[in-house]
């Protein structure tokens, strides 16, 4: 596979493990390349963990860690803790699981808001300040958080401000019967993720991240991006509309996605294809709209259909 460009190689490797999820995988990888983080809202057993593992396995020299969030999880369980070393009579810092390249924060909405905040602050800053000391996470730091649908029991819904820190929210959903049969066939002897050889190096990923920033984004599409996000602010059914952070994320993810499409510029279809995933989870609907059965994804789809697109 060395003759393929880096994005395609990475994509192919992950897809060989996680079956039937090509469009979602591409978006998740693009988010990683754009420097954002992903929130997967999904039912248990749909392959969230496998995907995170596969991404980590495909990148050589990357560290993958997983934190299972529970109601009694404390911030220090994620960030790390200083412990007194009896021999040297000094405090020694034990880094927590957050010191990694790819972090799977499983069932993030089962932890208390205090712990959630600790993670999300770190995510946004790319660093953590623990006991007055600053710790950088390094250049490749990608969080895949999963949460169960909010109606599930024993969950603390993420505060709106923290939802905004995820560049993208998407769902894997159940795959088709044929794909599920293929999954069974794959896993008769071993799990394919265990056999996945690294296909790209950590440095190549960093190069990709640089390349994504250089994808050209025309003035007109900047206006279109802003128009889409700003449209949420004039909708009566939206109580808390999307922030400029959403416009920024939409631009960055679109750029990275263009890289995966093999383009060196962004076209309006690319923006349209991720706009729902980037914008919808940031909106808080007005109660009356909620009771009428509207949801944020529908509203964003509506906005896309109504906002004149440059042609």
């Amino acid at each position: 596979m060395p003759d393929l460009p880096t994005p395609a190689r990475l994509e192919q490797a992950v897809c060989s493990v996680v079956r039937g999820q090509e469009p979602v995988i591409r978006r998740i990888l693009a988010t990683m390349i754009s420097g954002g983080h992903v929130l997967l809202e999904d039912y248990p057993g749909t392959g969230k963990t496998t995907m995170a593992k596969a991404i980590a396995a495909a990148i050589s020299g990357s560290v993958f860690k997983r934190v299972q969030f529970t109601p009694d999880l404390l911030p220090s369980d994620i960030l790390g803790i200083s412990v007194l070393d009896p021999r040297s009579q000094e405090f020694r810092f034990h880094p927590g699981p957050i010191f990694t390249n790819i972090l799977l924060a499983d069932e993030i909405n089962r932890a208390s808001p205090r712990t959630q905040s600790a993670l999300l602050e770190a995510m946004a800053e790319g660093q953590a300040t623990i006991e007055g000391e600053r710790h950088d996470f390094g250049s490749l730091f990608f969080v895949i958080a999963t949460q169960n649908p909010v109606e599930f029991r024993g969950t603390y819904p993420l505060p709106e401000a923290q939802m905004d820190r995820f560049a993208l929210q998407c769902t894997l959903g159940y795959v088709s019967a044929a794909e599920e049969v293929a999954i069974l066939a794959d896993q008769v002897q071993t799990h394919p993720v265990d056999q996945l050889e690294p296909v790209v190096s950590r440095d190549e990923i960093l190069e990709l991240m640089d390349a994504a920033k250089k994808i050209r984004f025309s003035e007109e599409l900047r206006h279109y991006t802003v128009a889409l996000v700003a449209a949420t602010r004039s909708r009566p059914e939206v109580q808390l509309p999307a922030s400029p952070r959403a416009s920024l994320a939409l631009m960055k993810v679109s750029q990275a996605l263009a890289l995966f499409e093999g383009l060196d510029f962004v076209s309006p279809e690319i923006i349209q294809s991720v706009a729902v995933d980037v914008i919808a989870h940031r909106l808080v609907l007005a109660p009356e709209a909620k009771y009428l059965g509207q949801n944020a994804r529908q509203i964003v789809e509506d906005i896309i259909a109504q906002t004149p697109v440059p042609v």
Partner: protein, 674 residues
């Protein structure tokens, strides 16, 4: 079209300013409904005003139509300045609103149809501009060609034949429209013109019913109302016009050779001012002003609807008139008085009864002539009655009167054909009336009497007017209706040197007429409405009342305006910048694929605003022979269009050639579809 340019420009400015200013109101359903109520009230008020005002009542509706753009302005205002882009349709119906509100109370869902009133307003304005007094049909043709032709030209690609064809169709539409409009206007708008009292009467010609068959239809509508001064007698006949030549059922005026034309025969009446600063018009040419305005003369006031050049009915021995609001009044040699009123309804006083007449003395050649076709019968009758040998005028008149009374029957059912049998003798209607049939209405009696008296050497003229029959001696009022139309003679009294009335019709004619017609059950309503309308109009027209009315109306209008403006000012909103600045950044880059959009639209239908060009063109790949062309064209288009990096010219050329190929295929497809 109301001819009020300033109002039109003001409204247009207010409506169009909405595009530039950010001032808006958040009208709710009640607000929209209120604007409609305001418009409805304005329409009703104006309809009533026009109905009261206009002598052609049938025109009131079309005049209101002309004002509709102004009247519906409140609704258009809510459309232009409301935060919503359309207004709910149910505001226009009281019942729909009731149902909607009831449903809301019961928590039922009801889908409300929304309407952009701007389109309706445009249509109303167009219709209004073709109606009303100022509407000019010459604007209509080029206007409609422009309006229809423009979209047709826009929708075609630039083919001269297509453009010409489109313009031809547009012209055809326009001509048809204009013809229809013209037809409708002539048929409906001016139909009521001759219904005004006296307008049906002409000073020069009177077409009689002599020789026609069947029932004479007469209207029972009130034409004139008289009020007699206390103690004065009622006039019995009010003359409108006299004629002196009879030809086969038609009476007209004939001047002696060498005199002025009939048009110039009308002379302005001389005015006479008395000491009590009242202005009179003297009816007779050489009258003594003092005698003609004596306070002892009997007088009555008369009130009715008139048109320009209406004939004013008055007694044959009228002396002078006063108090009429006229722009002009004139009289011809036959004593017929024609007026130019200032208002469609007039009111004034007529003085009469001094044994003089306004006509010039008779012209023997004209006023003694008997038409040849009747001369034999007339001569025979005069001979048999011994009319020529009767010594005095009064005796002659008595003989004729008595003969008619005893031997003739009055009827408005005509049974004498003009020429029923060429070989029979006599043949003309008057001859049959005199010799065989002896039945007829006043025109027969008057015409026959005129001819008989002329044969007997008395200068006589035929006169039409009204008989004063429906009187109320207690109040001193009289009413003249269409059915009181009458015809009689004016005979020259050589001894006194005046013309005087002679009515040859049997005296019981009106009683017979009443019996035959019977009473209409709704006549009182029509009378009441007419009287109320005329009286209100005259009351309103008095300078003092006019001032009061205009003050009251102004206060009401200003008050309503202040209330509306204050309420609007309280609830105004300023639309935030981002809403108006929402318009998408427009790039000036257009590729060959953009130019293809109108062609592709014929096959794919219009592109939704949120759908990008590649997505929209996607189905084309399954339709045309070379799908790879579309894919490549889309790629090149995206590069040219959205890549800020400069592209080479070869890309552009390649896309152009691809687009041309696709267009060719599309045209073929469209033809096949057609």
């Amino acid at each position: 079209m109301t001819g009020n340019v300033i109002a039109a420009v003001l409204l247009a400015v207010i409506v169009e300013t909405a595009h530039f200013v950010r001032l808006r109101w958040n009208f709710d359903d009640h607000g929209y409904a209120r604007s409609w109520h305001l418009s409805t009230i304005a329409i009703i008020v104006l309809l009533v005003v026009f109905w009261l005002d206009d002598s052609h009542r049938s025109l009131a509706v079309s005049r209101v139509m002309g004002w509709l753009p102004v009247l519906l302005f409140p609704v258009q205002f809510t459309q232009s300045y409301g935060l919503q882009t359309s207004i709910p349709l149910n505001i226009f119906s009281f019942f729909a609103r009731q149902r909607y509100e009831r449903n809301l109370r019961h928590g039922l869902q009801e889908s409300v149809i929304k309407l952009n009133f701007g389109n309706a307003y445009l249509v109303i304005t167009l219709v209004a501009s073709t109606l009303g007094e100022q509407a000019n049909p010459y604007f209509y043709l080029p206007g409609i060609v422009l309006l229809i032709g423009w979209p047709m030209v826009r929708n075609r690609r630039k083919r001269p034949a297509g453009v010409l064809f489109a313009l031809f169709i547009a012209t055809l539409f326009a001509l048809t429209g204009q013809a229809t409009l013209h037809f409708a206007t002539s048929k409906y708008s001016y139909r009521g013109k001759d219904s005004g009292s006296g307008t049906g009467l002409d000073a020069k010609t009177s077409h009689t019913q002599i020789g026609k068959l069947g029932d004479i239809k007469v209207s029972r509508d009130i034409l004139w109302r008289l009020k007699i001064r206390k103690g004065d007698p009622f006039p019995s006949l009010l003359r409108a016009a006299s004629y002196n030549r009879y030809i086969n059922g038609t009476w007209d005026t004939r001047l002696p050779p060498g005199s002025r034309s009939l048009v110039l025969d009308f002379q302005d009446l001389s005015a006479y001012g008395t000491s009590d600063s009242e202005d009179y018009y003297l009816i007779r040419a050489n009258a003594d002003g003092k005698e003609a305005t004596l306070p002892t003369l009997p007088r009555f006031s008369i009130r009715g609807s008139v048109n320009n050049k209406s004939l004013l009915p008055m007694p044959g021995n009228a002396a002078s008139i006063k108090d009429f609001e006229l722009d002009g009044i004139e009289r011809n040699s036959f004593g017929t008085i024609r007026i130019y009123p200032q208002n469609p309804i007039i009111d004034g006083t007529i003085l009469w009864g001094d044994h003089q007449s306004p006509e010039v003395p008779p012209w023997p050649q004209q006023d003694l002539a008997v038409i040849r076709s009747e001369s034999r019968t007339v001569a025979e009758v005069v001979e048999s009655l011994g009319l020529k040998s009767a010594p005095t005028l009064d005796e002659k008149l008595n003989i004729v009167k008595r003969w008619f009374d005893q031997n003739f029957t009055y009827t408005r059912y005509l049974s004498i054909p003009a020429f029923y049998d060429a070989s029979a003798n006599p043949t003309t209607a008057i001859s049959q009336f005199l010799t065989t049939d002896r039945k007829g209405h006043c025109e027969y009696f008057a015409t026959a009497a005129t001819l008989l008296l002329r044969e007997a050497g008395v200068p006589t003229r035929y006169t039409i007017g009204f008989a004063v029959r429906e009187t109320d001696p207690k109040d001193g009022t009289a009413v003249i209706r269409g059915e009181h139309c009458h015809a009689w003679c004016r005979v020259w009294d050589e001894k006194n040197g005046i013309w005087k009335d002679f009515d040859p019709t049997p005296g019981n004619w009106f009683a017979l007429e009443e019996q035959r017609l019977g009473k209409s059950s709704f006549q009182w309503l029509a009378d009441g409405l007419l009287i109320a309308r005329e009286d209100f109009f005259l009351w309103r027209n008095r300078p003092k009342n006019q001032l009061i009315i205009s003050i009251i109306v102004t206060i009401l209008a200003v008050g309503a305006l202040i209330v509306i403006i204050r309420r609007l000012a309280k609830s105004r909103h300023v639309v935030h910048e981002h809403q108006s600045a929402e318009s998408v950044f427009e790039s000036n880059i257009r590729t060959a694929l953009n130019e293809l959009e109108p062609t592709a639209k014929k096959i794919l239908g219009p592109r939704p605003p949120g759908q990008s060009l590649p997505q929209w063109l996607l189905p084309l790949q399954g339709l045309i022979a070379a799908p790879e062309l579309v894919a490549e064209a889309i790629t090149l288009h995206q590069k040219l269009r959205f890549d800020p990096a400069p592209s080479s010219k070869s890309v552009k050329d390649r896309l152009q050639s691809l687009a041309d190929q696709i267009r060719e295929q599309l045209d073929r497809l469209a033809d096949a579809k057609a």
